[in-house]
């Protein structure tokens, strides 16, 4: 307030802020940091600690259906008592039953394969967009982003009607005589691949586009003038320069795809093993909270490396933007 008062009094409001302003600025800074910080601590970090804690407790038929490991009201003695009773039973259970291991493995493989497919589909689109006339680009960008705004569930649902044995794709292919037996796509891995590629395509195209758009295309012209064939110019110049976009896009697709639930559940049918679905069933069908927590902890450990990579990429982009 002091500066405003000074200037109103006709005195020069210098660049050196008065003590009141400084204090105000410091307080504002604290508030701006503290409020979201505390919120995320409470609703993002502490929940993980609780998941970890419950994964070490025993299943019980009660509500909530587990024996609490550590009772805060018992203080330090409670802590010691609970440390004695910690059980790794749920984790042992996960290693004993091959179902979980297979579910992790097949999630990683399905997510990996579909990330690669998304890259194959997304790259030409992003490249075409980056080469489009500058006036057209914002419209193309908008068209890529728009489906992302419409519900994930709806977009997955839309594919059921297309891929079903009596669905639109089979009707179309039968009508033009390409096939004479309906293709079985629904409830197979192919359906999951289609679902993931379709749902996550914008996540791949956007980082690729922003990497390719910044590229200096005279480099390619120079290479071609010097006799470099287009394919090897692509692999030697375009692709390496777009690598940050490739990495960001792949991480943005891979990480959520590993834990995907809706797509394997609706398109993959009951045969599909994916860890997100296993966790869901453990929780909602078997009501086994400790085991589903253990599944979540291991899924998280599996994703720590890609998530840290993603954060570093984000932080680097942020530094460059500055």
């Amino acid at each position: 307030m002091s500066n405003a008062a000074l200037s109103q009094a006709g005195l020069p409001a210098g660049t050196d802020a008065g003590p009141g302003t400084k204090l105000l600025r410091a307080v504002a800074g604290r508030v701006v940091i503290a409020v979201p910080y505390l919120w995320l601590l409470l609703f993002f970090l502490i929940p993980f600690v609780i998941v970890f804690k419950i994964s070490l407790s025993q299943t019980a038929i009660a509500m909530p259906p587990y024996v609490p490991v550590f009772d805060l009201s018992e203080g330090i003695f409670g802590l010691f008592a609970s440390l004695r009773e910690l059980s790794f039973e749920n984790y042992l259970w996960l290693t004993e039953d091959a179902l979980y291991f297979n579910a992790y493995l097949s999630s990683v493989m399905i997510a990996g394969a579909s990330t690669f497919l998304t890259l194959l589909v997304g790259y030409p689109i992003a490249y075409g967009m980056a080469r489009a006339p500058a006036t057209l680009r914002p419209i193309l960008l908008m068209l890529v982003i728009l489906p992302f705004w419409t519900s994930f569930l709806i977009r997955v649902y839309a594919w059921i009607g297309i891929l079903k044995p009596e669905g639109l794709l089979n009707q179309f292919l039968l009508a033009i005589g390409v096939i004479d037996q309906p293709l079985i796509i629904m409830n197979t891995h192919t359906a999951i691949f289609i679902g993931i590629v379709y749902s996550y395509l914008p996540f791949m195209v956007l980082p690729l586009y922003s990497a390719l758009e910044k590229m200096d295309y005279s480099l390619i012209e120079a290479a071609q003038d010097l006799g470099c064939p287009p394919t090897s110019a692509f692999w030697k110049i375009t692709f390496p320069l777009s690598l940050p976009g490739v990495v960001a896009g792949c991480l943005l697709v891979f990480i959520p795809a590993v834990g995907e639930f809706v797509i394997p559940d609706l398109l993959g049918g009951s045969q599909t093993l994916m860890i997100g679905k296993t966790l869901w069933n453990e929780f909602f069908a078997n009501r086994d909270w400790p085991v589903s927590s253990a599944v979540a902890v291991i899924l998280l450990l599996l994703l720590v490396v890609p998530i840290v990579l993603f954060q570093n990429a984000q932080a680097r982009a942020q530094e460059q933007g500055r």
Partner: protein, 272 residues
């Protein structure tokens, strides 16, 4: 740079956009199907829209969803904007690495983990699952998206404007509301819209954190989809798509107009 499109570029763009839009277009077309079968055309009809509006369960779920989305998007926008300011303006404070980790991680965190962990938090806090818990959960995961959107605008923000305002005697708070906020407002609005639609769409986190009496629309749609595909769901989906599309396009037009206006103002200011 010679921006000419080769035939390959054109084909890949056209095929790519056909892939992105064809399923949605088909879904919309079949919401107007007379027949109960979703995949066999039986003539034009709007009867599924009538059926939808008469379905009380569906309407209740829609109302719950709209309220959750509105409240959570609004709170998430405030928190997310603060987080973005904290990340761009304060490069040094204790625990900054943890903080930026907590802002970016929810963007890619599998929803089953977020949903389960929040549910376990609510249970151990003794909160009954319902409207409040879904809203809190949605605030938490959408605020990070708002933070990223607003942050990308703040990075390119010209800070000399703020310094000028302060040199002229404005307090930091006044500077924020009169200089910074108008400039980053488009980003804040698109952050709000993103948060709103993310909340509107969410099935997994809502299923974990919601309780009886607070069934959201995606949960309702999901439970019906499991029973089979019906034109009524197509109608609901079409309506949702229409609402979101109109909102996004309207926001884009408004943003564009503001941008043009701002450029005109700047030119006028430069001419003096």
């Amino acid at each position: 740079m010679n921006a000419s499109l080769s035939r390959f570029n054109i084909v890949s763009i056209v095929l790519g956009f056909a892939f992105l839009y064809l399923p949605i277009v088909l879904l919309i077309i079949f919401s107007f199907n007379e027949s109960r079968l979703v995949t066999v055309w039986g003539g034009f009809s709007t009867k599924w829209y009538v059926a939808m509006f008469q379905n009380q369960g569906l309407m209740d779920a829609a109302w719950v969803t709209a309220r959750v989305a509105f409240i959570s998007a609004t709170v998430a926008t405030v928190l997310g904007t603060m987080a973005a300011l904290a990340l761009t303006r304060y490069t040094r404070f204790r625990g900054r690495i943890l903080f930026s980790g907590m802002v970016f991680a929810p963007l890619v965190m599998p929803e089953v983990i977020t949903g389960l962990s929040l549910l376990l938090l609510f249970v151990s806090m003794g909160l009954d699952r319902g409207f409040l818990t879904v809203t809190l959960a949605h605030i938490t995961f959408t605020m990070c998206f708002v933070a990223v959107v607003v942050q990308s605008r703040l990075i390119t923000f010209d800070r000399s404007l703020e310094e000028a305002a302060m040199d002229l005697g404005a307090t930091p708070v006044k500077t924020f509301f009169q200089v910074t906020l108008p400039v980053i407002l488009p980003a804040i609005i698109s952050g709000w819209m993103l948060a709103f639609t993310l909340s509107l769409d969410d099935l997994v986190i809502a299923s974990f954190t919601s309780g009886p009496g607070a069934t959201t629309l995606p949960m309702k749609i999901y439970s019906q989809v499991r029973l089979g595909v019906t034109p009524e769901i197509n109608a609901v989906c079409t309506l949702l798509i229409a609402v979101v599309t109109v909102g996004v396009i309207a926001a884009a037009v408004v943003n564009k107009r503001r941008e043009v206006q701002r450029q005109r103002d700047e030119q006028a200011a430069q001419r003096g």
